[in-house]
């Protein structure tokens, strides 16, 4: 009996894998349930490398969403980390050691060094001399959000700003910004 079960199991695995490969590219348009099922088994194809650095999560993520390093180029992170005393009009000073460690983490994982989809798209949208300090200023970000009416984000009393990625992108903290996963406070799902 065992002799039969093993090949069947192997065949099943092979078969499922084939479907997944086919499913993976057509993101956004397939049945959500099916996608969720496969994602859980074979891992999500992420848009940006997720943050795994505990120090970064703690130091930067206690005041705002811990933006993935792959959302801005190295030159942006360097500029930002050199002026934490005035961090978008807030004081975000760090001690010398922490500053050094986090700057290294950010620059090593920046968008220009990443192969993840959104990182590449952000980089491609920037000209070489652009040093954006806000992700929301990158042409790719603007293009992806330009169809959203004011009432949905800017004038939405529950939001007010595009800076709170995770407020709408429910899996942003995992590095996933899939359109299917959007849930806008007070509005709900969103498709363009």
């Amino acid at each position: 009996m065992k002799k039969i079960i093993v090949p069947i199991a192997l065949l099943t695995i092979l078969f499922t894998t084939t479907i997944v490969i086919g499913d993976d590219d057509s993101y956004g348009k397939k049945e959500h349930s099916e996608k969720g099922y496969f994602k859980r088994f074979f891992g999500t194809k992420l848009d940006v490398a997720p943050v795994k650095n505990a120090l970064y999560k703690e130091e930067c993520g206690s005041c705002h969403f811990a933006y993935q390093p792959g959302l801005l180029p190295e030159r942006s992170w360097k500029k930002m980390m050199a002026n934490l005393e005035n961090h978008f009009d807030e004081n975000a000073e760090l001690d010398t050691d922490t500053l050094k460690t986090l700057t290294t983490y950010l620059t090593r994982n920046s968008a220009d060094k990443s192969n993840y989809k959104r990182s590449r798209k952000i980089m491609n949208s920037l000209s070489k001399n652009q040093v954006p300090l806000r992700i929301t200023e990158t042409p790719y970000f603007i293009r992806k959000h330009d169809e959203i009416p004011k009432r949905v984000v800017k004038n939405n009393p529950k939001l007010g700003s595009f800076s709170k990625c995770a407020a709408c992108h429910t899996k942003a903290d995992k590095g996933s910004y899939d359109e299917d996963e959007i849930n806008i406070p007070g509005i709900g799902r969103w498709e363009d």
Partner: protein
């Protein structure tokens, strides 16, 4: 059951000790800086005192982010990010790390008041907060 109770006891004592260690280290440092009285009332007053935002001119105080009920979560005034309660009674993890206490005093005094808090001010605020 006994084991569970024991574990809970050990954990509670451990976290109490951590808090006591960190805060007593802070108070020792304040004493070295010449502070003799830790005034919880003065701490409360400073905590609630309004200051003008340098750029917008709008009034702001500690409660702008931490909320007026210290046993409840606060909300960062700019980013909306949740801030866990400042009251020790509601959040025993507070004040267990000297480095953190110093970091946040520095940052948040600079933002709220526009300068660093001196040893007396820190001593007052800390003694007020750990009694909440």
């Amino acid at each position: 059951m006994k084991t569970k109770l024991f574990i809970v006891l050990v954990l509670t004592t451990a976290s109490n000790n951590l808090m006591a260690n960190a805060t007593s280290q802070m108070f020792d440092e304040y004493r070295k800086d010449g502070v003799t009285v830790f005034n919880t009332d003065a701490g409360k007053t400073l905590w609630n005192k309004q200051f003008k935002n340098k750029k917008t001119g709008k009034p702001q105080n500690c409660a702008s982010c931490h909320g007026s009920d210290l046993t409840q979560d606060g909300k960062h005034v700019r980013t909306g990010k949740k801030i866990s309660p400042m009251a020790l009674s509601a959040n025993p993890k507070r004040y267990t790390d000297v480095k953190k206490i110093k970091k946040w005093f520095k940052r948040n005094c600079k933002w709220t008041i526009g300068r660093e808090c001196n040893a007396q001010e820190q001593a007052d605020i800390l003694s007020y907060l750990i009694k909440q």
